[in-house]
């Protein structure tokens, strides 16, 4: 990333203050977004999302595993993001580690809530607490309990891997959008006679038949079907909207140049119903609680538009796929 001269910085800040950014966008306008589905055939679900010059790929793999002892009724999701050196010379070797970790953690917080997989209103003595308070319902983005096959015995482990191919700011939003789209695909979700799986009926994981052994101690036999898939319910997966604060205003979908001028950035994940599923803040500067509240209401509004844009993109991409086959 090249540095900017004082004059250019001044110009960018001025543009944001006057609601006309360098490429003619307004503060709350996204760049055009494009979605490609099924870019990695080996994965259960994959998607490539381009947001202006930002380009990311996400693949989702599902494997059968064992639930942890602490949470026998929940599946596991591992999220890992890598930055390819093609995105910039700074990412060569170990240069991308810091950013990769930051993005992985950010994505985890936005999609899974905290580590236990559910958002809990932890009382933090600052604005974040308020943010939790005003969210009427706390719900993790990905419902982990829907990934269980046999309680305590078999569950689905989802491996969500992101790759940043080209970076021009707003990576978190692009990655989250890609995760949302990638989940639509053939995820091998299991189907047993257990009632709990009814919730998964329109989600895309492969069908699994489970035959329970005679004694409850036995590991159940699992048979994964190659032909039958269950659709994973992706409508619940939230989109992430990052509000980047530059000067006294905040913008969505910041480019790399604009991000270099930010004082802090708040990423909010909002699901279809307008519920906040997670929140993470980057950047050093503090935020006034009232600003956070303001940001939440703006993010909800922006997320609504983004969700509908993504939905239409998904529909278009699926239609294109159907045409080919």
């Amino acid at each position: 990333m090249v540095g900017l001269s004082a004059g250019e910085k001044h110009f960018i800040c001025g543009g944001i203050a006057q609601d006309l950014r360098s490429d003619g966008r307004q503060r709350l306008q996204f760049r055009p977004i494009s979605v490609l589905i099924g870019v990695i055939p080996q994965a259960n679900g994959s998607a490539q999302v381009r947001l202006g010059a930002t380009d990311v790929i996400v693949s989702v793999k599902a494997e059968l595993g064992k639930p942890t002892l602490l949470q026998p009724d929940k599946g596991k999701v591992a999220i890992y993001v890598d930055c390819s050196p093609t995105a910039g010379p700074a990412f060569e070797g170990r240069g991308s580690e810091e950013l990769s970790t930051e993005l992985s953690v950010g994505l985890q917080r936005c999609l899974l809530g905290d580590k236990s997989g559910a958002v809990q209103p932890t009382p933090v003595p600052n604005g974040i607490f308020l943010a939790y308070e005003c969210a009427t319902e706390f719900r993790a983005g990905i419902d982990l309990s829907s990934l269980i096959v046999v309680e305590g015995k078999v569950c689905w482990d989802l491996y969500v891997d992101g790759l940043v191919i080209s970076s021009d700011g707003n990576l978190l939003d692009a990655l989250a959008a890609a995760v949302k789209v990638a989940h639509l695909l053939r995820m091998f979700i299991c189907c047993t006679d257990i009632d709990g799986l009814a919730a998964l009926s329109n989600t895309g994981i492969p069908k699994v038949s489970v035959s329970l052994g005679p004694s409850p101690e036995d590991q159940p036999e699992v048979d994964v079907s190659d032909e039958e898939f269950l659709q994973f319910d992706t409508s619940g997966i939230p989109v992430v909207v990052t509000l980047t604060k530059v000067g006294r205003h905040y913008i969505v979908d910041a480019t790399a140049e604009e991000e270099s001028q930010m004082s802090s950035a708040v990423s909010l994940s909002v699901n279809r119903n307008g519920h906040i599923c997670g929140l993470t803040k980057r950047g050093g500067a503090g935020l006034d609680p009232s600003v956070v509240l303001d940001m939440i209401s703006v993010a909800k509004h922006v997320a609504k538009n983004l969700t509908s844009v993504l939905d239409s993109e998904i529909a278009a991409a699926e239609a294109a796929e159907d045409d080919e086959s």
């Binding site: 090249v2 540095g3 900017l4 001269s5 004082a6 004059g7 250019e8 001044h10 110009f11 800040c13 001025g14 543009g15 203050a17 006057q18 006309l20 950014r21 360098s22 490429d23 003619g24 966008r25 307004q26 306008q29 055009p32 494009s34 381009r50 202006g52 010059a53 080209s166 021009d168």
Partner: protein, 318 residues
């Protein structure tokens, strides 16, 4: 240039294909069609004349083949392939825009998209306020008050030194630091060498500088000789709010910058006329600044270019 990606719907795709096909046909009708080659393509040559194989070519099984993608060029006997997305190749007298990389003793090193950094010596520039420089050690220590790291500067190519380094000069009021605007980078081959690279668009109040190295500056118009002293800048940055570029001017800057982005995404050569044409077309068809990068205007631009080239061809035939 970070590539612009445009999502087209089916009809727009068809229209774009048709427009591009037209452009291809037109270029074949022109007097000397350029031969585009990719790696391992055979280059048709007239063996009897005897040829010299130049850059990007190779003798293979008795044929001349290309070793890189580009356009075949021939100068007398020499046949070579000119790569399209190569780095900038400086020529003496080129007006270029660059970004200061480093301050070294008595010189600035400037990034200009060449294979090495260019050098601007302190002695080969006139000071911004036009006063005579006193060649003292103190003066050299104060170089940062003229250009700092990351500053965008405009200069002229002075020539290559004996050691192979590239030297620049800035001996006029029109050269120097560029502020209050945005820098765009496009492939260097899109900017052709012309008589005039500095443009003051009076109707818009915008300065447009087309650097030969593919760096393009679009900024607020600066009146020559009114450059503030460096001390003023400090105070100027402090009361930022009052000093922002006026919204009207900013709109024009963004409109022209988006025209440049759009044209470079199409791969059309950038000249003042075509940039202004695009900007005016967007105004007359009521396209928002942001939507200039959208699919519809993208296709319209290609179609307009077809018309322009077709009419040029007609004129030249008459």
């Amino acid at each position: 240039m970070r590539e612009l990606r445009v999502l087209l719907n089916q009809t727009q795709k068809v229209r774009l294909q048709a427009a591009l096909q037209h452009l291809r046909d037109l270029s074949f009708q022109a007097s000397s069609p350029a031969i585009p080659v990719t790696i391992a393509d055979t280059i048709p040559v007239n063996r009897e004349d005897g040829i010299l194989k130049g850059h990007g070519t190779l003798e293979f099984n008795g044929q001349v083949v290309a070793t890189q993608c580009g356009v075949v060029e021939q100068v007398n006997k020499l046949v070579y392939v000119r790569a399209l997305k190569a780095r900038y190749k400086p020529e003496v007298g080129d007006i270029i825009i660059g970004r200061v990389n480093e301050i070294a003793p008595k010189r600035w090193r400037i990034e200009i998209n060449f294979s090495q950094d260019a050098v601007l010596m302190l002695q080969s520039m006139n000071l911004p306020d036009g006063i005579q420089r006193r060649r003292t050690a103190v003066d050299e220590l104060n170089m940062r008050s003229i250009f700092e790291e990351n500053d965008v500067v405009c200069a002229e190519v002075r020539g290559f030194q004996h050691d192979g380094s590239l030297h620049l000069q800035a001996r006029s009021q029109k050269y120097g630091k560029l502020e209050r605007g945005q820098l765009l980078t496009v492939p260097a081959y899109l900017v052709k060498r012309r008589k005039q690279h500095f443009h003051h668009l009076e109707q818009y109040g915008v300065d447009l500088i087309l650097g030969c190295n593919g760096f393009i500056w679009v900024g607020e118009h600066v009146v020559l000789g009114e450059n503030e002293m460096p001390e003023d800048q400090e105070s100027r940055m402090e009361n930022q709010e009052q000093n922002f570029t006026p919204l009207k001017v900013r709109q024009q800057i963004c409109r022209i910058a988006n025209s440049v982005r759009l044209l470079s995404a199409h791969g059309f050569s950038l000249s003042l006329e075509i940039i202004l044409d695009t900007a005016e077309a967007s105004v007359s068809s009521n396209v928002e600044i942001n939507d200039m990068l959208g699919a519809e205007f993208y296709v319209q631009t290609a179609e307009r270019e077809v018309q322009r080239r077709a009419s040029l061809l007609k004129k030249s035939r008459r």
